[in-house]
């Protein structure tokens, strides 16, 4: 199935793009998606291990299953203020 991945901050530079569309296995969990992203973008792996995922305006948990055609945001550690 296809999912849209949006990277923020340093991740968009380490992965070479803000927005990616990737093929992933059906029923993949968030933790597994993070593993796939780490394999695809080894330069981003250390940051990915400290990042969170959201779908729309909802934070996802490691065991959550990614839905087909989902738009997933990958959120590195934050530094607002």
């Amino acid at each position: 199935m296809k999912v849209k991945i949006t990277f923020y901050a340093s991740l968009k530079e380490k992965t070479g793009n803000h927005l990616w569309e990737l093929d992933v296995p059906d029923g993949i969990r968030c933790s597994e998606l993070m593993g796939l992203l780490g394999d695809k973008f080894p330069e981003a792996k250390a940051t990915l291990e400290r990042s969170a995922l959201s779908s729309g305006d909802i934070y996802l948990q490691p065991d959550d299953i990614i839905q087909p055609d989902a738009s997933i945001s990958v959120l590195p550690p934050v530094s607002g203020g």
Binding site: S10, A52, S54, G56, L75, S79, G80
Partner: protein
């Protein structure tokens, strides 16, 4: 957008929007871009946000402050985009009847925003740049 802005933040705005003769205390926090960081001269700072999620998370933090303290008025804006040293990145004002709750609520708001809101900043120096990614969500 309610809490994020691309525009300049001006504290004098608080004088016009927060008038309440029953508020005996107003705590204001102003966050500014520092001109030096990690021993390097900062020439500008870029703030980026997941805007819709940041608005939602800030709204939740603001509601928590209203629930925890007897707040009479609250103003909060976080600037995103390109800022220079001295520019205001965040402006918070909390009005309450007494000073203790004003200080506490204001401190809570800035602390929680730094911990929980998907906003990132990138420092630009004369010869390099660096994303500051400090607190995992």
């Amino acid at each position: 957008m309610n809490y994020l802005t691309h525009g300049i933040l001006d504290p004098s705005f608080l004088e016009e929007c927060l008038k309440d003769t029953e508020s005996g205390a107003e705590a204001v926090f102003i966050g500014r871009v520092r001109g030096t960081s990690r021993g390097k001269t900062v020439i500008r700072m870029e703030y980026e946000a997941h805007e819709s999620l940041a608005e939602k998370v800030i709204d939740g933090i603001v509601k928590e402050a209203w629930d925890k303290w007897p707040v009479r008025h609250l103003f909060l804006k976080h600037r995103i985009g390109s800022l220079e040293p001295g520019d205001i990145s965040i402006l918070i004002s909390v009005q309450t009847s007494h000073r203790e709750e004003a200080f506490s609520a204001c401190r809570y708001l800035i602390d929680q925003i730094k911990l929980r809101v998907p906003i990132w900043k990138k420092e630009f120096y004369s010869d390099s740049s660096q994303w500051l990614e400090e607190t995992p969500l």
